[in-house]
């Protein structure tokens, strides 16, 4: 039996994107929600094209290599944007830029020639995890009046931290110990990876809807 979590993930990407776009218009929330919604459409397209290429037995590693750099750059930019303190934002932007350059060089001249850029992917995951931890550190250092569960930025960072923390060991396993793992384990790893992506989308949905106020309609007394 092969559980097709991948299909659910693809559908959820579109659903999350629609919810994001709908809510960003309905209520005034952070502009990054708009960006994330459009970015989810981009991710869906990448997954769609990658799947089609795979079905036609055309190599699709190059697509995931380049799209992952865009993904890391985008998520880093989003986290830097939502950092509560302005201090060190410029330095972080420079670090992200340097990372992108290193990853591009790795894809064009080294690992990317033959396969997936596992080293720079691992580095990117560490970068995102570090940025998320830095965000939480700043959040705890300078709490605001608002409840945490109604802060979209908190849910966005939680989604990113969760996704990259959980997928990091999976990618390490995939790239560095692939030859030692039994073939039976691969479907499980693939399913776990898709579950992580599904939870990532669900957390983003929470980020998109956490500001919505549910109105209670009470009967008029007059």
């Amino acid at each position: 039996m092969n559980i097709s979590f991948y299909k659910y993930y693809s559908i959820l990407l579109i659903v999350t994107s629609i919810i994001g776009l709908f809510n960003s218009k309905k209520i005034q929330i952070n502009i990054q929600i708009n960006f994330i919604s459009y970015f989810l459409i981009y991710l869906f397209l990448i997954e769609f094209i990658g799947d089609k290429l795979s079905q036609k037995s055309i190599p699709n590693v190059w697509l995931y290599n380049y799209s992952s750099i865009v993904e890391f750059a985008f998520y880093s930019w989003i986290i830097i944007r939502i950092l509560p303190l302005k201090k060190s934002k410029n330095k972080l932007k420079k670090i992200v830029l340097i990372y992108c350059l290193i990853a591009l060089i790795n894809i064009i001249f080294f690992q990317g020639k033959t396969g997936f850029h596992s080293i720079t992917f691992a580095l990117g995951s560490i970068l995102i995890i570090t940025l998320c931890i830095y965000y939480f550190y700043q959040l705890l250092l300078f709490p605001n009046e608002e409840k945490l569960i109604t802060q979209p930025n908190f849910w966005i960072c939680t989604a990113l931290l969760f996704s990259f923390t959980c997928s990091f060991p999976i990618f390490c396993l995939n790239n560095f110990y692939a030859h030692k793992i039994s073939q039976n384990i691969w479907p499980i790893i693939s399913s776990i990876s898709n579950i992580i992506n599904i939870i990532f989308c669900l957390l983003l949905i929470v980020a998109f809807v956490c500001r919505i106020k549910i109105k209670k309609f009470l009967p008029s007394l007059s």
């Binding site: 039996m1 559980i3 939480f136 959040l139 705890l140 250092l141 300078f142 709490p143 009046e145 945490l148 569960i149 908190f154 939680t158 931290l161 969760f162 959980c166 039976n184 479907p187 499980i188 399913s191 776990i192 579950i195 992580i196 939870i199 957390l203």
Partner: protein, 291 residues
């Protein structure tokens, strides 16, 4: 079949572990954040109380300084004049009793006494004007400062070079103009009392059409800022000026070098309301326009 079941079981276990990990993280974050929020609120209350206390202390210090100034003026200027007038009157009356003075001389002396009384009256008026906040807001900041400069030139042997942009007169709320005027008074008072300066330069201008600039510099003995702030009593005037600037959202800069002089600079960004004040209240007078 068994393999498939194992696969499902593994997925369920790992999925549950991931979910637990996530829920644990979120709950821990919520808990820690709430704790931090409470702490932050407590800190804010303490800070507010400290701030209020500081404001009260500064207000008290300012009141004391104003009372001291009134006392000083009454003692130095008015008391001496009144004593002189009183002694003149008593001398005239004595001479009149002994018929040592002619009517013409009495008239002449009385005219002179009347002039002296007018001086006393003028002194009281000037003192009253410089102390009254209402007066400052009535005449406007620039006119109040000009008035003060005239008074200083009259009372003290010091050169004052003033470069005042008249259009800056219309931009302030009452609180802003009073506080700026008090800062001006305080800094001039400091120069006259401590700086041993021979020259004061006063610059009032609008920078980039939206920042009011008040710059007062002197060629006095200057001081070491860090030493001055260590000494709480000596730093009262400075901290008072700083706090007044802070209260109206102005930027207070002080640069002092021993034996060279001191420069005090206050920059107040003009708010939208200030600009509206210009339009609403002073439109006919305004010589300044915003694009």
């Amino acid at each position: 079949m068994q393999n498939q079941n194992q696969e499902i079981l593994a997925i369920i276990i790992l999925g549950a572990l991931l979910a637990l990990l996530l829920i644990g993280f979120i709950v821990a974050m919520l808990f820690i954040y709430q704790k931090k929020q409470h702490q932050h609120k407590k800190d804010l209350v303490v800070m507010e109380e400290e701030y209020d206390q500081q404001i009260l202390r500064v207000q008290f210090e300012i009141q004391e300084a104003v009372l001291a100034e009134i006392s000083h003026k009454l003692h130095d200027a008015l008391k001496n004049n009144i004593i002189s007038i009183a002694s003149s009157i008593s001398a005239i009356s004595m001479k009149l009793e002994k018929k040592l003075i002619s009517n013409e001389e009495v008239t002449k002396k009385l005219k002179s006494l009347s002039a002296d009384l007018m001086i006393v009256k003028e002194e009281i008026r000037l003192t009253s004007h410089s102390l009254s906040a209402d007066r400052i807001s009535q005449v406007g900041l620039i006119d109040a400062i000009k008035f003060e400069i005239k008074k200083i030139i009259k009372d003290h042997s010091i050169i004052i070079n003033s470069n005042i942009n008249e259009t800056a007169n219309y931009f302030f709320k009452q609180e802003e103009s009073v506080y700026l005027f008090r800062i001006f008074q305080e800094s001039i008072g400091n120069i006259l009392a401590h700086a041993h300066a021979t020259e004061i330069n006063i610059l009032i201008n609008l920078e980039n059409q939206n920042i009011f600039l008040l710059k007062i510099s002197d060629n006095g003995i200057g001081f070491n800022f860090s030493e001055k702030t260590k000494n709480k009593l000596a730093g009262i005037g400075l901290s008072g000026m700083q706090k007044r600037a802070l209260q109206i959202g102005a930027n207070f800069k002080l640069n002092s070098q021993p034996n060279i002089g001191t420069i005090i600079q206050i920059e107040l960004p003009l708010t939208l309301s200030s600009k509206n004040n210009l339009k609403d209240e002073h439109e006919p007078k305004a010589k300044y326009s915003f694009n």
